[in-house]
């Protein structure tokens, strides 16, 4: 850490800078709002970032632009507000006049019991600020994927959103953008931040070197990215974590370098920051990103965190493995890279040493003759954890399959390649359907999935086999009729 250490976090609210130098490192933004500030407009519905009742909006400078994004305050730690502007439902109405989003919600009868309403208003406020015009019905549904409403059935909320966002954004937050931008720029000073002491702290390193140094000094500290999983350890597991090192303000750590052959994603890049770049590799990857969590989760959660966390499902891991991605790790000054599939050792266990952290992912683009398909299968389309996540990359030379990389999530203790199926496809012909049968049969040898609350083992096995078949049918171009319920490939290809 630098000598010029700041001992308080600073963030903006209602045009004022709030400075906090004493708080529990595991304090959530929601508890701070409700219990310390007595601002009870923001609600707790689930305390796990799934219902969105606690949604607030955070403004940050990104690439020289002020960006407003919704966040789940129930699992966001107070320290993560450093350098940002916080806007809650209490802040929208002004001098007795409702914000356009609020007025539309009233006019369209968008609330019934009203408990989810503050969160919905804030998600729509973010859409109002950031949504590309014209705001479509699909964009509204995406904006609302992280907000559960149990009363209305959503129709009036969707109508309210379309109404409120029909024109260009023109509220007092837009009018104040330049001033807000300037105020946040003042907070963008380069010093490291440490609130607390050596036994209990929330640390905010501002450089990769400072991060590496902190990790070495505190191998027992929890490295925190978006807190979309760690937050649950606190709210549900009641884990007694006292030391956090937050990656959110490490300079350059969120960089995304779009090279000719590969995209290098800094481990601090959020899903929303990586969304468009990854979608450019293939429409299926874009669709996986669209369905990944919710806007709130994508705004906080990072691509690096999704990998480092080692979920056995982790929607991106199977996609990246199929694409041949590598992960870059750093410990102290030492950096190493390894194929992503080798990073996952066993259930919730990764090849990561104490004090070592994921610093980047390198995701190859598709080369000539390569075809990619990814399928996310879950009980609900939006904001659901996959029962099975399958990704396939085939390399074709004419109609001969010269290479196959097939990876699944939800089929084993880690995201895992289908070695048998890959081998069976090597050298086979894409246009010779009977030649696929060995690969399809191999899937049941490659995986022995488990039964849990999302699906049974037999469903997972059947679906994995069928997804491989579907990928082959699509790549071969021999389908009779549709193969998808959501025609996003056609839409995106048409858009190009």
């Amino acid at each position: 850490m630098t000598e010029n250490l700041r001992k308080a976090i600073r963030f903006m609210r209602r045009g004022e800078v709030i400075s906090l130098d004493a708080f529990s490192p595991r304090r959530t933004v929601l508890d701070w709002l409700r219990e310390d500030m007595r601002l009870t407009g923001t609600k707790e519905g689930c305390a796990e970032g799934d219902c969105g009742a606690c949604t607030a909006v955070v403004g940050r400078l990104k690439g020289g632009r002020l960006v407003y994004e919704p966040v789940n305050t129930c699992i966001m730690l107070l320290g993560q507000l450093d350098g940002a502007e916080l806007i809650t439902v209490d802040d929208l109405a002004h001098e007795g006049a409702l914000h356009p989003v609020q007025a539309a919600m009233v006019a369209h009868h968008g609330s019934q019991c009203g408990f989810c309403t503050p969160g919905i208003v804030m998600s729509l406020f973010a859409l109002y600020q950031e949504g590309a015009r014209p705001v479509t019905r699909a964009a509204v549904c995406d904006a609302l994927a992280g907000n559960l409403c149990r009363c209305t059935g959503y129709r009036p909320i969707i109508d309210a959103a379309l109404d409120a966002c029909a024109g260009e954004a023109a509220d007092r937050f837009m009018a104040a953008r330049a001033a807000t931008h300037a105020a946040l720029a003042v907070l963008a000073t380069p010093e490291d931040v440490m609130v607390g002491d050596d036994s209990s702290f929330f640390a905010i390193p501002r450089s990769a070197d400072a991060l590496a140094e902190l990790c070495l000094a505190h191998p027992d500290a929890t490295v925190l990215a978006g807190a979309t999983d760690v937050g649950l350890w606190l709210t549900k597991g009641l884990h007694d974590i006292r030391k956090f090192i937050w990656l959110g303000r490490v300079e350059g750590f969120d960089a995304i370098e779009n090279g000719p052959d590969a995209i290098r994603i800094g481990a601090g890049a959020t899903h929303s920051e990586a969304y468009c770049q990854l979608a450019s590799i293939d429409p299926d990857l874009g669709e996986v990103m669209r369905r990944f969590g919710s806007v709130q989760v994508r705004a906080s959660g990072t691509v690096g965190g999704n990998i480092a966390n080692g979920s056995p499902i982790g929607d991106l891991a199977p996609c990246f493995i199929a694409l041949g991605a590598t992960v870059e790790l750093r410990r102290g000054a030492a950096t190493r890279t390894l194929p992503l599939e080798d990073f996952f050792l066993a259930y919730r266990s990764q090849d990561r040493q104490p004090s070592e952290f994921v610093s980047a992912l390198i995701v190859p683009k598709l080369a000539e003759g390569q075809h990619f398909r990814a399928f996310k299968v879950s009980k609900r389309f939006d904001e659901d954890i996959s029962a099975v996540m399958g990704a396939v990359r085939l390399t074709l030379d004419g109609s001969t399959i010269t290479g196959a990389r097939i990876a699944f999530g939800g089929m084993a203790g880690t995201p895992k390649r289908a070695a048998g199926a890959e081998a069976a496809l090597a050298g086979a012909s894409i246009s010779h359907v009977a030649g696929w049968s060995a690969a399809l049969a191999a899937i049941s040898e490659d995986f022995q999935p488990m039964t849990d609350q999302r699906a049974t083992a037999s469903y997972r096995s059947t679906v994995a086999r069928n997804l491989l078949a579907k990928a082959l049918i699509e790549i071969a171009g021999i389908s009779s009729g549709e193969t998808r319920l959501i025609a996003h490939r056609e839409r995106m290809e048409a858009a190009e």
Binding site: Q112, G114, L238
Partner: protein
């Protein structure tokens, strides 16, 4: 269509509020975060937070609890167990069997064993996990099969019958036997269970509870503490959703908070964590339905025999009424000439299943729609034609429980109208053509009816009270026994009262439901909130209005009948006084400007022992047409279009009623598609939070969603000819389920489709594989 009725004494002028799409009374507060729920109330000084210790075992004997570590955790002020309860340790709404804290027997996983009161919620939650428990575990009954094997029930078996079922089944030209599983449903009210108890002087208690039934909370709190009811007040301004989940099961939490507040003489609050809420509170009953159908070649039902095996959980709770209502709705809209409807109310070591919007009706009706689909598959006919062939009609209009179905004309006309407006026949052809050319994606279509009986089947619940005050300045305060859970009851009742006084709606101040203003109320349930409470409030308003009219008549020296209340003024011919002016004058002349109102539903004659009578005042009707598509490789599915036509009589507030219809439909759709409750073999609920239990999100709404009110007027004597709306729309979602089965059926026409509910992707894929003669195996 019948003539629109008017309530005697109601204003003859064009209506200003009633039938208008006014916003929810709290809408502008909702959108600003300014509507306060229990946890938003300013915490009183010295308030403690409560968390509960839960059983990690589903069935067994509690041999000991070492709570030393709980007590010594920093911040803990007190720990309470069954031994600390001064009165009765039972929070049951019915026949008992719901211990507030476990005694010797452990009855289900996550049963409350003890409660901790601490200075912070965090301290209470951490301490509650530190107990050392000694429980002698037994193998729990988790499924109805396990309960049946043990012969354990929460209530006796109960059946209705008409005719000779065995002989008729034997004589029927066609016969199908089968079994159909219908899943349960978690309420997932967005505001979890919560209560705040504040001790007052001399043992009095004020309990803020997120409850649909404040009177029961008052009563149970008094019983638990050994106090007279008169010492306990229960108040609720609003709930963040209820859906039946706070009808009986808000009580336990209020009683625990009250016990702690009473013992410690400090305010105490409890707010369940979402996981604990899922794990400890009851849900919609899941059922296994075993059926035998006899029918003829025309698709007409001759005999229907059904056995419902209901998973009731560890106690009776409201299972008598819930399972009875499944029986009452076993006919859906169909004439059952010979039938036997039998129920088993099985005791399982799981949460005590409870009221959930529809209260058993959805299960009974869904099974009836499965019966129709079975007949249609067997005969190769369009299911809609089989539905028509079996609809109640003149001469065939007596339900299995003996009530004559009223408004047959509405039932028939509504279905015919929807068939036309949804363009069902043309779309049937389109779906057939699509399926012929699509190998992997299949589409399905279904149009299903709703007929739902309105009234509580427990007679004493069909009563309501209200209290209305007119103040000297002409402002009006309104109170009644109904609770607001988002359904817009407060606003509807206020509209009726404002209309009666001829004043602006803003003049009527809606106040929180509280047992010290209106006592001895029933729960806000059974869709009856408006029918009962608006009528009680209307009676109160009319009493005050009559006194004001008499007084005004004395001022103008005219008959009271010549006085008119409108536009916030009181008229005699061209002379008028402001409403406030008259209120002030009347007060000075000592006219009583406050009144209670009371209403009891007439004509309800259900006799459960004789299995005969009229349990319902009237029926609400509706119908939905759903088009879906499924991916036969994964079981994933989409609802492409839904058309709904629904009967709310003459709507008191079309905006609120459409909100109830759409919201009820989507909630029903969730129940039948993505919402799956999974318990493990040890009785632990695995789907205990939104990460694992999936209710619909915005994108699940049908892309093409067309909802209309059927133009109608209630012929029963109900306020402004309106009809109840809360529950019936849930069953509109049966169309989605039947359409999904229809899509699977397209894979192999003529096959029976073994699709159980909920139709998750897995359930659909299993059904797809089964109709193609491939068993997936490895069922849960």
């Amino acid at each position: 269509m019948s003539v629109v009725r008017t309530i005697p004494g109601s204003p003859p002028e064009p209506l200003r509020h009633v039938h208008q799409p006014l916003a929810h009374d709290s809408a502008t507060r909702h959108v600003q975060g300014g509507a306060a729920y229990i946890d938003d109330l300013r915490e009183p000084e010295g308030m403690l937070h409560i968390a509960c210790g839960l059983s990690p075992v589903a069935r067994g004997t509690l041999r000991g609890m070492n709570l030393d570590a709980v007590r010594s955790h920093p911040g803990v002020v007190a720990v309470f167990t069954a031994a600390d309860v001064p009165g009765s340790n039972d929070v049951s709404p019915s026949v008992g069997g719901d211990p507030m804290f476990a005694e010797e027997r452990v009855l289900f996983h996550s049963q409350v064993l003890f409660a901790v009161a601490a200075t912070t919620r965090d301290a209470a939650r951490r301490a509650a996990r530190l107990a050392r428990l000694e429980i002698e575990a037994e193998t729990p009954s988790v499924t109805v099969e396990q309960a049946a094997e043990r012969q354990e029930t929460v209530l006796p078996d109960y059946a209705f019958a008409r005719g000779d079922i065995e002989a008729t089944l034997t004589a029927s030209p066609r016969r199908i036997d089968g079994s159909f599983r219908i899943g349960g449903q978690e309420h997932f009210y967005l505001e979890g269970q919560a209560a705040l108890a504040i001790p007052k002087e001399d043992g009095e208690l004020l309990v803020h509870s997120s409850t649909q039934h404040p009177t029961e909370v008052q009563h149970v709190v008094a019983k638990v503490l050994g106090l007279p009811d008169a010492l306990v007040i229960c108040e609720v301004r609003r709930m963040g959703g209820g859906f039946g989940g706070k009808e009986s099961q808000a009580t336990q939490w209020a009683a625990i908070a009250a016990l702690a507040a009473h013992k410690l003489k400090r305010p105490c609050k409890i707010r369940l964590d979402r996981d604990d809420d899922f794990a400890t509170t009851g849900k919609r009953h899941d059922m296994r339905c075993d059926y035998r159908i006899g029918f003829d070649e025309a698709g007409r039902i001759q005999a229907y025999d059904v056995d419902y095996l209901a998973r009731c959980g560890y106690s009776a709770d409201l299972s008598q009424g819930v399972v009875d209502r499944a029986m009452f709705h076993s006919d859906s809209s169909y004439w059952l000439p010979v039938t036997r409807i039998n129920t088993r109310r099985l005791l399982t070591n799981t949460v005590s299943n409870t009221a959930f919007r529809g209260f058993g009706g959805p299960q009974g009706m869904l099974m009836a729609e499965r019966m129709i689909d079975e007949i249609a598959w067997a005969l190769g006919r369009d299911p809609l034609d089989v539905r028509y062939a079996n609809l109640y009609r003149d001469g065939e209009d007596i339900t299995p429980y003996g009530q004559k179905v009223s408004e047959l004309d509405t039932m028939h006309a509504l279905l015919a109208m929807l068939e036309k407006t949804s363009d069902y026949r043309r779309r049937r052809d389109e779906v057939t053509a699509f399926n012929a050319s699509s190998r992997f994606i299949k589409r399905g279509l279904a149009l299903t009816p709703v007929k739902f009986g309105i009234s509580f089947t427990l007679k004493q619940l069909n009563q309501a009270g209200a209290l209305v005050h007119v103040y000297q300045d002409g402002s009006i305060q309104l109170n009644h026994g109904g609770t607001e859970m988002g359904q817009g009851l407060y606003q509807k009742v206020a509209q009726v009262v404002a209309e009666e006084f001829g004043v602006a709606i803003e003049r009527v101040r809606i106040t929180a439901t509280t047992t010290d203003k209106v006592p001895n109320t029933g729960p806000t349930a059974a869709s009856s909130g408006t029918d009962l409470n608006a009528r009680a409030a209307l009676n109160a308003a009319q009493a005050i209005k009559a006194r004001m009219a008499d007084y005004a008549a004395s001022l103008w020296n005219c008959p009271a009948a010549a006085i008119r209340f409108r536009d916030d003024r009181v008229f005699h011919g061209n002379d008028s006084l402001g409403f406030g002016e008259l209120a002030n004058k009347a007060h000075l002349d000592r006219v009583h400007l406050s009144a209670t109102g009371f209403y009891a539903t007439p004509g309800i004659t259900w006799d459960r022992a004789r299995k005969h009578g009229n349990p319902f005042l009237y029926f609400s009707f509706g119908a939905a047409c759903a088009e879906v598509e499924i991916d036969t490789l994964t079981g994933e599915n989409r609802v492409r279009r839904v058309d709904i036509l629904h009967d709310v009589g003459k709507s008191l507030n079309p905006a609120i009623d459409i909100g109830q219809i759409e919201g009820g439909f989507v909630q029903g759709m969730g129940w039948l598609t993505t919402e799956e409750l999974v318990f493990d073999a040890k009785g632990k609920l695995l789907t205990h939070a939104p990460a694992t239990y999936k209710i619909p999100v915005a994108s699940d709404l049908p892309a093409d969603f067309r909802v209309a009110l059927y133009p109608n007027a209630n012929r029963a004597d109900v306020v402004y000819a309106s009809k109840a709306v809360g529950e019936p729309p849930v069953m509109l979602a049966n169309a989605v389920f039947c359409a999904l089965a229809d899509a699977v059926h397209a894979l192999k026409p003529g096959a029976r489709v073994p699709l159980d509910a909920p139709a998750t992707p897995e359930a659909i894929l299993r059904a797809c594989e089964a109709v193609q003669g491939r068993a997936m195996g490895g069922e849960r």
